[in-house]
C-alpha cells in the first residue's frame, strides 16, 4: 500500500479523449502474471501503443513527442471493468500522478487513491474544453492543489473545486497508510468479533 504524498502538482497533460476506457485497455490481462508491483508502465495501453509487429504506433498519443506530463486527461467512465490494481500501477509507473475525467469507475477510483494516483472529476464541459486546449496547445499547464482541492488551467484561469473523501485527502497529504491505520484498531476489531459471536 502506498505511502505516497501528494500536495501540489503543476504539469502539462496527455490527452486520451476516449470514453469507457476499461482496465483491459490500460493493462491487458496477458501482462498480469508478474508477482511484483513494478514495471507495469512499459505495457501501459500496450495494444494501442504498439502495432502487432511490436513497432510503436505513431498515431497513439503516448508515442507523440508533442505530449508529455504527469496528468492524463481522458473521457467519461475511465477505469471500468476488472478490479486489477495493475491498471493503476501501470499508470503510476509510467509517470502519471493524476487522471482527469468527468466520471470514474468505483473500484478504479479506490485503487488509484490507495496508490497515490489522484483521480480528479471535472464537469463534462470543462473536460471538453481542456481536451481541446491540450490537443491544440500541448504546452497547456494545469495546477492541482490537493489541500485547497482546486484544479486550475493556468493559461485560461479556469479553476474548479474537486471532491475527495476527507479521510483519503488526509492520507495523501500526510502520506499515511490505510493498513497502519487499521492495524492500530486491532482491539476494536477483536472486540467486534467477540460481540458478534456472542450475539449468535
Amino acid at each position: 500500500m502506498a505511502k505516497v504524498k501528494f500536495d501540489i502538482l503543476e504539469s502539462t497533460c496527455v490527452p486520451l479523449p476516449f470514453e469507457n476506457v476499461d482496465t483491459d485497455q490500460i493493462i491487458p490481462a496477458r501482462f498480469l502474471s508478474a508477482t511484483s508491483r513494478l514495471g507495469f508502465g512499459d505495457n501501459l495501453f500496450c495494444d494501442w501503443r504498439y502495432a502487432k509487429t511490436g513497432e510503436k504506433n505513431s498515431e497513439f498519443v503516448l508515442n507523440n513527442p508533442d505530449f508529455s506530463g504527469k496528468v492524463l486527461v481522458t473521457g467519461k467512465n475511465f477505469g471500468s471493468g476488472s478490479s486489477r490494481e495493475h491498471a493503476v500501477w501501470a499508470i503510476f509507473d509510467y509517470g502519471f500522478r493524476a487522471v482527469v475525467s468527468s466520471f470514474f469507475a468505483d473500484i478504479f477510483m479506490n485503487n488509484a487513491l490507495n496508490n497515490g494516483l489522484l483521480p480528479i472529476v471535472i464537469s463534462d464541459d470543462l473536460l471538453k474544453k481542456l481536451t481541446t486546449l491540450v490537443q491544440n496547445k500541448p504546452n497547456t499547464k494545469v495546477k492541482i492543489d490537493l489541500e485547497k482541492q482546486t484544479f486550475t488551467i493556468l493559461s485560461t484561469g479556469d479553476s474548479v473545486k474537486f471532491a475527495i473523501n476527507p479521510y483519503k485527502k488526509d492520507c495523501l497529504l500526510k502520506g499515511l497508510d490505510d493498513i497502519d491505520f487499521l492495524l492500530n484498531m486491532k482491539n476494536l476489531i477483536t472486540g467486534y468479533e467477540n460481540n458478534k459471536s456472542l450475539a449468535k
Binding site: 476516449f18 498480469l32 468505483d106
Partner: protein
C-alpha cells in the same frame, strides 16, 4: 427505528467503526483469493513482517491463468507457473485453505465459493476480482477489491469502504421462451449503460427474479459490475435455502435449520427507501447480443445496430472506434453474420444449468465446421456433474471437446485466446477490446444463443431451436 434495505441491514451489522467524514471500517466474513491479484498483497505482509490476521476466513483457488488442457502436467508458461506456485507457497506459509490446481474441488473462485458452502446469506465477502458481485445471489454483500485492499483484509479482516448508494431494480412480467437470466441482465445493462449504476449497490426484486434458480440469480448478480455497480443482491428465499440444504457441507454452520430461520428475516423493510428505483417489464426482453466493446452496447438479437451512441451522438469517436474494432457499421443487422469461435464458460455462465441449456439447443445436432468451440466448466464439480448427466457424451458426439475448469477464454490469460479479427460468441461478461486476446471480437450472449451459433456457424436467434418442438405440436 428507521426502515432499512436488505443492504443496509447487512452493511450496518458489519461496521466496526464509522470514521467521521470518511469510510466505514467494514468487517469481512469471507475473503476469497486467487493467483493473479494476491502475490503483491502477500509481499506487502512480508515487508511489514505481519501475519494473516484470520487465516481461517480466507480461501484460495487457482483459476485465472491456468491451462484448460493437461492440468496434471506442469504449466508451460513460466510466469503463470510462477504465480500459481507463489499462491501455493503463500497459502502454506500463512495457513490458508487452498483449492488449487488439481485439487478435486478446484474451479473459478465465484463458482466454487457457493458450491463449497462458503457463500451464505447475510455475510460480507470480498475478493480481488470484480465479479465477486456473483455471491450477492444469496443475499450477501459481496464486492470486488484491488490488491492493496486484499492486503488490508489479510492483515486486519476489515476494509475501509464508503457506503455506496442503493438502487432497486424490479423485473416483473412474463419471460418469453428462450430468454434466460443472461438476457435479462444484458437487457438491463443495455438500457442503463455500462456506467449507469456506478456508485450504487443494487437489489434485484420482482416476480421474475424470484422465479430464477440460484444459478440464474448468480448470472444476474455477476454482471452487476458491468453497469458500474459495486455489487448486486437478492433477498434469500426458499430457492436459496433449498440450494444450501443440498450442499454436502457448510463450513461453520452446525445447525442449518436455525440458521435458515435467521436468514428468513433478511429482507428490505416494506417502506425502505432506495436512492434510485428502476422497473423493467420482462415481456419486452428478447435474446440479447452485444455489438460493441462494452457490455452496455447490447441489443435484441434480431435488432439492428443503433445509428448513434447512447446519447444520440452519431459522430461519437468512442462509438465509431468501437464499431470499427468489431468490423461493424451503424444500422447493420447481426443475424446471419458468420462466427468463428464459441466460448461456453466463465463465472457468468459456467454452471451446470448453463451446460444443460447449451445441450438443450444441441439436441442431437452437430457443431458447424467453421466453429472452434471452447467448452469450459466452471469447476471440477460442474465437470463431474456434466459427465454424470451424460452431457459430456452428448457434447462429444456433437463434435465438441470439453475442457478442464478455469477462467479460460473469459480473460485469455492462458493459451485459450481468440485470434486477431475473429468473431466469438461468448457466454462470459466482457466484450472489451482485446479481452479474449489481442484483436479478438467478442459478442456476449446467453448459452442458448452460443449454442445456436455453434451449430449454425452464424449469429442465430436461439428461439428457432427452443420453440421448434412447440411449433410441431401445433
Amino acid at each position: 427505528m428507521k426502515s432499512k434495505t436488505l443492504f443496509d441491514k447487512i452493511w450496518d451489522s458489519h461496521v466496526v467503526r464509522s470514521i467521521e467524514n470518511g469510510p466505514d471500517v467494514l468487517y469481512i466474513d469471507r475473503h476469497y483469493i486467487h493467483e493473479v491479484t494476491s502475490p503483491q498483497a502477500f509481499n506487502g505482509l512480508k515487508e511489514r513482517g505481519i501475519p494473516v490476521f484470520r487465516p481461517g476466513k480466507t480461501i484460495a483457488t487457482a483459476d485465472h491463468n491456468i491451462p484448460t488442457k493437461n492440468q496434471h502436467l506442469p504449466i508451460k508458461d513460466e510466469l503463470s507457473r510462477n504465480q500459481v506456485e507463489k499462491l501455493t507457497e503463500n497459502c502454506q506459509k500463512y495457513g490458508i485453505e487452498l483449492y488449487g490446481l488439481n485439487h478435486p474441488k478446484n474451479g473459478i473462485v465465484h463458482v466454487i465459493g457457493p458450491e463449497l458452502g462458503y457463500t451464505l446469506p447475510g455475510i460480507t465477502i470480498v475478493c480481488g476480482d470484480s465479479h465477486t458481485s456473483t455471491h450477492g445471489a444469496f443475499g450477501t454483500i459481496a464486492f470486488g477489491i484491488g490488491t492493496s485492499e486484499v492486503e488490508m483484509v489479510l492483515a486486519t479482516q476489515c476494509i475501509l469502504q464508503p457506503k455506496p448508494r442503493k438502487m432497486r431494480i424490479t423485473v416483473d412480467g412474463e419471460l418469453q421462451k428462450g430468454v434466460t437470466s443472461k438476457d435479462i441482465i444484458m437487457y438491463i445493462i443495455s438500457e442503463i449503460s455500462a456506467s449507469g449504476a456506478t456508485g450504487y449497490f443494487v437489489e434485484y426484486c420482482g416476480s421474475v427474479i424470484r422465479s430464477l434458480s440460484m444459478e440464474g440469480r448468480m448470472t444476474i448478480c455477476n454482471m452487476s459490475i458491468e453497469m458500474g455497480a459495486r455489487g448486486g443482491l437478492i433477498t434469500p428465499d426458499e430457492t436459496t435455502f433449498e440450494y444450501l440444504r443440498k450442499l454436502p457441507a457448510i463450513p461453520g454452520i452446525d445447525d442449518l435449520k436455525s440458521s435458515i430461520n435467521e436468514w428468513r428475516k433478511l429482507r428490505s423493510d416494506s417502506d425502505a427507501v432506495f436512492d434510485r428505483d428502476l422497473k423493467f417489464d420482462a415481456g419486452l426482453i428478447k435474446p440479447m447480443i452485444t455489438y460493441g466493446t462494452n457490455p452496455g452496447m447490447g441489443m435484441a438479437i434480431d435488432d439492428s445496430i443503433p445509428l448513434s451512441d447512447e446519447n444520440g451522438n452519431k459522430a461519437s469517436s468512442s462509438f465509431l472506434k468501437s464499431l470499427d474494432y468489431m468490423g461493424f457499421k451503424p444500422g447493420m443487422k447481426l443475424l446471419g453474420h458468420p462466427v468463428d469461435y464459441v466460448f461456453l464458460g466463465s463465472c457468468t455462465n459456467g454452471r451446470i444449468e448453463d451446460f444443460r441449456a447449451f445441450a438443450q439447443v444441441i439436441n442431437g445436432r452437430k457443431k458447424a465446421d467453421n466453429i472452434t468451440a471452447l467448452i469450459v466448466p466452471g469447476s471440477k464439480k460442474v465437470e463431474e456433474q456434466m459427465a454424470a448427466e451424460g452431457l459430456t457424451e452428448l457434447y462429444k458426439s456433437a463434435g465438441f471437446e470439453v475442457r478442464q475448469p478455469g477462467c479460460s477464454s473469459c480473460l485469455a490469460m492462458n493459451e485459450d485466446k481468440i485470434p486477431q479479427g475473429k468473431y466469438a460468441v461468448s457466454t462470459s461478461n466482457r466484450n472489451f477490446e482485446g479481452r479474449q486476446g489481442p484483436g479478438a471480437r467478442t459478442l456476449l450472449a446467453s448459452p442458448f444463443t452460443a449454442a445456436a451459433a455453434a451449430i449454425t456457424g452464424r449469429i442465430t436467434d436461439p428461439r428457432v431451436f427452443i420453440n421448434k418442438e412447440q411449433k410441431v405440436k401445433k
